[in-house]
């Protein structure tokens, strides 16, 4: 078990290096001279070629490519991601510190929605397969997969906030502001996991041990919850865990609909302002989350599911 964790962790390192390398190439592909940009960031009034040459030397831009990558990587590991191009008084780190908490709150709340809604709905769909509830839910799943998230957001604002006047339309002042954006983010995932749990449960219902338990006279609700639901949750929890980074990056669109002041808004405004260090750090951050969560839940799956350990 320990050797598996070690091996799996070691394979993640080259992947992380590759991701950081892509991010480094990304900022080097920008069509402007970094030395000139640095001078502009310092708000130098007149930029002369001599000054550019001096800054190049200062920033180590005359070093070979791989040496610069190494310096950059060391800086990143110390959480120094550089300075925002648009607002030189702010570092990228401080911008992230400002925006990250609201995005995490949003992503966590939608995770709660995803688990809280898709597990019971998937359960009842499987139990009453082809019943009225199951058919309604299948229609719901089909429709929501064809709906763009931002339109769902607009519809919710219209119906819940404007027509019924129940919740505020945008902003982030109280928990009331959280409900609609979190629900919008979670909706796509809810339909995915309803389908996953339903199909998993239907598959497990056909297994021999379920028949055996029935024959033995175990009560139906115990078979359903303890034997079938618990077994189907294994794969679901891993799948949901691995989609947490997607949930975090998926807030990008919804944050813009609901004016939620998080990473997504920061990212979009940086794209408009060509604030490359922030975009670079955002891509690095999400890539890092992807690798780490994949690793984490892969290991969890191995611990939880003894069948995988035999190999």
């Amino acid at each position: 078990m320990f050797s598996y964790i070690l091996r799996r962790t070691l394979t993640a390192i080259p992947l992380l290096l590759a991701i950081s390398f892509v991010c480094f190439i990304f900022i080097n592909l920008i069509p402007s001279d970094p030395a000139e940009v640095a001078l502009r960031v310092r708000q130098t009034p007149i930029i002369t070629p001599e000054m550019i040459a001096q800054v190049r030397l200062e920033l180590g831009l005359d070093e070979p490519f791989l040496v610069r990558y190494w310096y950059w990587l060391v800086n990143c590991l110390q959480l120094d991601f550089g300075v925002s191009y648009v607002n030189p008084t702010r570092t990228v780190l401080s911008e992230f510190e400002r925006a990250l908490p609201s995005t995490l709150v949003l992503a966590l709340t939608s995770l709660v929605f995803v688990i809280g809604l898709s597990v019971p709905i998937g359960f009842f769909c499987a139990v009453y397969k082809d019943g009225l509830f199951d058919r309604i839910m299948r229609g719901f799943v089909f429709i929501t997969t064809s709906m763009p998230a931002y339109w769902i957001g607009l519809l919710l604002i219209w119906i819940i906030s404007i027509k019924l006047n129940l919740l505020p339309t945008s902003g982030s002042a109280s928990w009331k502001h959280l409900v609609l954006p979190a629900f919008t983010v979670s909706l796509t995932y809810i339909s995915t996991y309803i389908r996953l749990i339903r199909n998993n449960m239907l598959e497990i219902m056909r297994e021999d041990f379920v028949t055996y338990a029935t024959v033995r006279g175990v009560k139906r609700h115990i078979i359903l919850t303890k034997h079938i639901l618990m077994n189907s949750l294994h794969t679901c929890i891993v799948a949901i865990g691995m989609s947490i980074p997607q949930l975090i990056s998926g807030t990008i669109v919804v944050e813009n609909v609901f004016a939620w002041p998080g990473l997504g808004q920061l990212c979009i405004s940086s794209i408009f302002n060509r604030d490359y260090p922030i975009i670079q750090t955002y891509v690095l951050f999400v890539g890092f989350l992807f690798v780490v969560f994949n690793l984490l839940f892969d290991i969890i799956q191995h611990i939880v599911d003894p069948r995988l350990r035999k190999e």
């Binding site: 991701i19 990304f26 339109w151 998926g250 669109v253 794209i271 891509v283």
Partner: protein, 274 residues
Amino acid sequence: MIALLMRNRLVVGLASFIGAIALMGIFAPWIAPYDPYTNDILIKFAPYSLEHPLGTDHLGRDILSRLIYGIRPTLFLSLLTMIATISLGAFMGLVSGYFRGFLDEVIMRLVDMMLSFPSQIMIFAVIALLGVDVQNIIIANVVIKWAWYARLIRTKVMQYRDRNFILYSRCIGSKESFILGRHLLPSIASEIAVLASLDVGWTIINISTLSFLGLGIQAPLPEWGAMLNEAKNVLTINPMQMIAPGVAIVILVSAFNLLGDAIRDALDPKEVQS
């Protein structure tokens, strides 16, 4: 393959439905009742009526006409993106699956790296790098999504490359390009068709999302996502403006998703038997 699909009523029905939408887009100037750019501030926010079946927007433009003109960017850009992505993915997949060796190793490591990033974020990053423009959203989508196709097509190619008819063709001295183009490509064509039709829906949503955020097709042009972006700004005054483009997207995307499922069922003999 085509004959098999023609016999399936669901496939034919959905394909003609999508074809009809495409024709409406092509002949938009003759079908649309009004010009999609003509402002008439006096009749802004007109409700549904006989003159303006879907009402007018905040500048008094006819929404139905804009919707019909909007078919062009929405549908044709997605199809173009799809074709470009699949061509690149199929080429890379064929080459790496058929020739194997060093080339395969290089392409597959590249694919691994591309797939370790979340695709949506990478599309944003490429657009940030290239700037906000219509052609850039196509480039971004192609650059990011080809890897996914390359891997699937490579697996398929490897299932076929050692079949007898290909070994025979190689024995009698057919050129590699002939084997790739005439033997392998037709064999995996049905797989590609299913993948493509299932993924067009995703592409439509993705491109309209970019336009909605203002990163894709820009405001005066009638694209469904961009129309929804404009509708968002007047949501409290005229909520009806955002209904029509959204419903249009849902209908088109559902049609493609259903078509993908139908093609898969029609082409997969195992499904038919069971």
